[in-house]
Symmetry: C2
Subunit: 254 residues, 2 copies
């Protein structure tokens, strides 16, 4: 299989290196990743400015293309660039992100947006995140990547649907299983810290603690708490379907 | 009512001015908007850098707070700032965006992400866009804003659900009605244009034409084609629910 890899922590991130090393055993890997760290960029795409590429080498060998843009830009430009060479990927893998992309975080995630971009283009796609902001143990997540990639290629999903995977920061042997989950609504209790710059002007910095996870075993964060891998089927249709009937009853007139 | 206004075209945009002028007739308006244009930023939030505010005056009068950040940042920081003053808004209105936010565009939209942020915080929210990139006729969209705001306040939606409104670029009298719609999947046929900078290095610029809209009257873009206002109930749960059963049948094992 031909595998397009990207991420939002940047082309030099440890999680991408772990994913690339594992997936190279299973197919041809092609890397287009942001030149610098791009966390919490949501589904940003670069329209007002041009994109630039450069080659990224590791240990003297070509590793991939560094894109001065967002994760969604990377996948968009990679699919365009590979398409004109008749080398479209069979699958897009985005990650391994340092930190979980569960609950409300899912919608802020550059990692998830890169997978979204793959799915929009009709290519099977998976976002993979490590459920820790500090652990360097990507081994379980890396080992799970080819398992989920093969499953997805064997079981095509409807157009626009892709997978959001979160993995406990442990070796695969210590992970207790795989749980199919839905996105939780767990959010952060947020504050802005007020600071003064050297010129006595205020600036504001976002901080926050994660709220308690909903007590429902089907929630993404619950799987992680139970040392299981969370696999959530996601799509890019934001419609709240039960709302269609609700709103029709409003009888809005001009 | 106390109305928080924001947008993604920036605090000096014509669409925000039109919305502010109209809504000032119906309540207290409070503006927190990006200092500069922020289109297609998706649901980006600023984590790595601090935010800064400045006062924006128009015709010698205080108009609002210009935030050096994204639309989602504006709403997040406004809710924090107003909350600590005991002045939380009753509703968040984001717009009037220059250009429709329908189909796949919905997920790239800063205008929509600002409304999402309101909804996440439990405040009724509406994203309003003008279905034209060129027309300066915001009159129909501005006139519809208080109508939909009152409807939403009279009929609370479930937590996390908000409205994505797209309005034809016409006076209200020439608009044929209001249609409750779902988000279409209409996308752009995209290309990158390759150019050379003065130093003979390539750069790449995204271009594209909108694809044909699905032939289904319930689609957001179809309402616009028929000169109607499109009102789509949206939420920030990306789960593809039919996928839960599909994936359980895969029986993924480690």
């Amino acid at each position: 299989m031909r595998i397009l890899l990207t991420n939002d922590d940047g082309i030099n991130a440890q999680g991408l290196a772990a994913l690339a090393a594992e997936m190279a055993k299973h197919g041809e890997i092609i890397v287009y990743a942001p030149a610098s760290e791009m966390s919490a960029v949501g589904h940003a795409i670069t329209l007002s400015d041009p994109l630039r590429f450069s080659e990224c080498r590791k240990n003297g060998e070509f590793f991939g293309i560094a894109v001065r843009g967002t994760p969604a830009d990377c996948v968009k430009v990679a699919i365009w660039d590979l398409g004109r060479q008749d080398r479209l990927p069979d699958i897009v893998l985005s990650g391994i992100n340092q930190g979980s992309n569960t609950g409300i975080n899912t919608i802020y995630s550059g990692t998830v947006s890169a997978a979204t971009e793959g799915a929009i283009s009709g290519i099977p796609a998976v976002a993979i995140s490590l459920a820790s902001y500090t652990s360097g143990d990507f081994s379980g997540a890396a080992a799970f990547a080819p398992i989920i990639a093969r499953q997805l290629l064997a079981h095509p999903l409807p157009p626009g649907v892709f997978l959001n995977v979160n993995v406990p920061a442990k070796p695969l042997e210590q992970i207790r299983g795989v749980r199919i989950t839905r996105q939780g609504m767990t959010n952060y209790r947020e504050e802005y810290e007020i600071r003064k710059d050297p010129h006595s002007r205020n600036y504001y910095w976002l901080t926050g603690d994660k709220m308690e996870v909903e007590p429902d075993d089907e929630i993404d964060d619950r799987a992680i708490i139970d040392d299981e891998i969370s696999v959530t089927p996601v799509h890019c249709d934001m419609t709240y379907y039960p709302g269609l009937d609700m709103l029709r009853k409003w009888q809005i007139s001009l």
